[in-house]
């Protein structure tokens, strides 16, 4: 696996989760949303006035693939913040399942993971 930019993965999850329109776009068109986000949003400095941008933020191929494939297990293994991933994925997919069914299946897909979990420090 290439070097991981946990901060940028977290930034994607954070900005998408907090925008209802983006949650729906990412659910229905993950590939298009990830491409658009990386081009338009990845370098936006969120706490600055609009117009100020960074110049250096980009996903690795593995990160882009994990986001395009809605692969929450790989995101966890890469050290993306689990609260951000869980919150966004519940928003996208809980509606397709019975009460708590999605949350339990989400955990069950990670049963092979043991302590210590991947470091989430950014």
């Amino acid at each position: 696996m290439e070097a991981v930019s946990k901060y940028l993965l977290d930034k994607f999850l954070y900005t998408v989760d907090r925008d209802p329109e983006l949650v729906e776009r990412y659910r229905s068109d993950p590939e298009g949303t990830v491409a658009w986000w990386e081009a338009e949003m990845a370098n936006r400095i969120l706490s600055c006035h609009s117009g100020e941008r960074s110049t250096w933020l980009a996903f690795s191929d593995d990160e882009r693939r994990a986001l395009r494939e809605h692969d929450h297990v790989t995101l966890f293994e890469m050290g993306a913040h689990p609260f951000l991933t869980l919150t966004l994925f519940i928003a996208m997919f809980e509606r397709d399942h019975g009460p708590l069914e999605y949350q339990r299946a989400y955990g069950a897909m990670m049963k092979h993971l043991t302590l210590p979990y991947p470091d989430i420090t950014t």
Partner: protein, 287 residues
């Protein structure tokens, strides 16, 4: 000087509002017992007759983000809007607006800085469920001014557990040195063992019932030394990947005072996490 009329520590469970207001087939089987426990807990604040609430909690990546992350932050503003779209979406939490007490916030900031806590501040802070959950459980009228204090239990690197205890002690001293006749309750919320987004989430109990049992004992007796001897930033990964929220309970142990037994202790074993409620009445509170 101001009177600390109560020190209150609690878990903050965002599903309480939905569970307690659900009816018919939607009402979970544990809702009645949970409500009874909350009403008893609420009474411990009501009888303290507070005028102002200092509210310790933690932003869940709402207003505070990784491009500018404070470790400890005091909200100083005349009003605090509350709850976010994703909390409305997932937990059904309502939008709220709480009044702020700028005088107490200014006192905590100035004198906290002079006690060597490099506190960040915010003059426009939208607070989230770590503070609105205890408003909903303890003071649903939402009628008292607050001073929100946010801690970072969420985004490593975080301060050491000892620092949370020290800040709790300092907050107690700062409130007691506030030149005011008002009665102040210090309320803080955290977690016992908790897993979010990992393999142990949403189990039949919290991810580590043994940790929860020991944690409740530490808090109920405010056994700070015993707790600090076992709890480190590393050790908190073992009970569950979101268990660093326990450090806000440690902060509240600092506020309650070393080895001071709580006057009210209650727990509720739920799926996913254990709920825990503690109230201390300091000397001078009249209770």
């Amino acid at each position: 000087m101001a009177t600390v009329c109560a020190v209150i520590a609690s878990t903050h469970h965002p599903f309480y509002l939905r569970a307690s207001t659900a009816t018919g087939a939607d009402r979970p089987p544990f809702a009645d017992e949970w409500m009874e426990k909350i009403l008893r807990f609420r009474e411990t604040l009501t009888r303290a007759k507070p005028d102002v609430l200092v509210m310790v909690g933690s932003d869940h990546f709402h207003q505070l983000w990784l491009d500018n992350m404070p470790q400890f932050l005091v909200g100083k503003a005349p009003f605090f809007d509350a709850n976010y779209y994703n909390e409305e979406r997932e937990f059904g939490l309502p939008r709220m607006t709480l009044r702020g007490d700028e005088g107490l916030a200014a006192h905590i900031l100035r004198n906290g800085l002079d006690k060597n806590f490099d506190l960040a501040f915010s003059n426009e802070l939208r607070i989230d469920h770590s503070i609105t959950c205890p408003i909903i459980t303890l003071r649903p009228e939402a009628d008292l001014p607050i001073v929100p204090i946010y801690t970072n239990i969420f985004a490593p690197p975080m301060p050491q557990p000892r620092r949370f205890v020290e800040l709790g002690r300092a907050i107690r001293e700062l409130v007691e040195s506030w030149p005011s006749d008002l009665r102040v309750a210090i309320i803080g919320t955290g977690h016992l063992s908790l897993e979010l987004g990992g393999p142990r989430q949403f189990g039949p109990h919290g991810p580590d019932p043994d940790f929860d049992r020991r944690a409740v004992e530490w808090i109920a007796t405010s056994n700070i030394d015993g707790c600090l001897a076992e709890v480190t930033l590393d050790s908190l990964h073992a009970p569950g990947n979101a268990t660093h929220g326990f450090m806000d309970f440690m902060l509240m142990m600092g506020a309650a005072g070393e080895n001071v037994t709580a006057d009210h202790v209650d727990t509720l074993d739920l799926f996913h996490t254990m709920e825990a409620y503690f109230t201390w009445y300091p000397q001078g509170s009249g209770l």
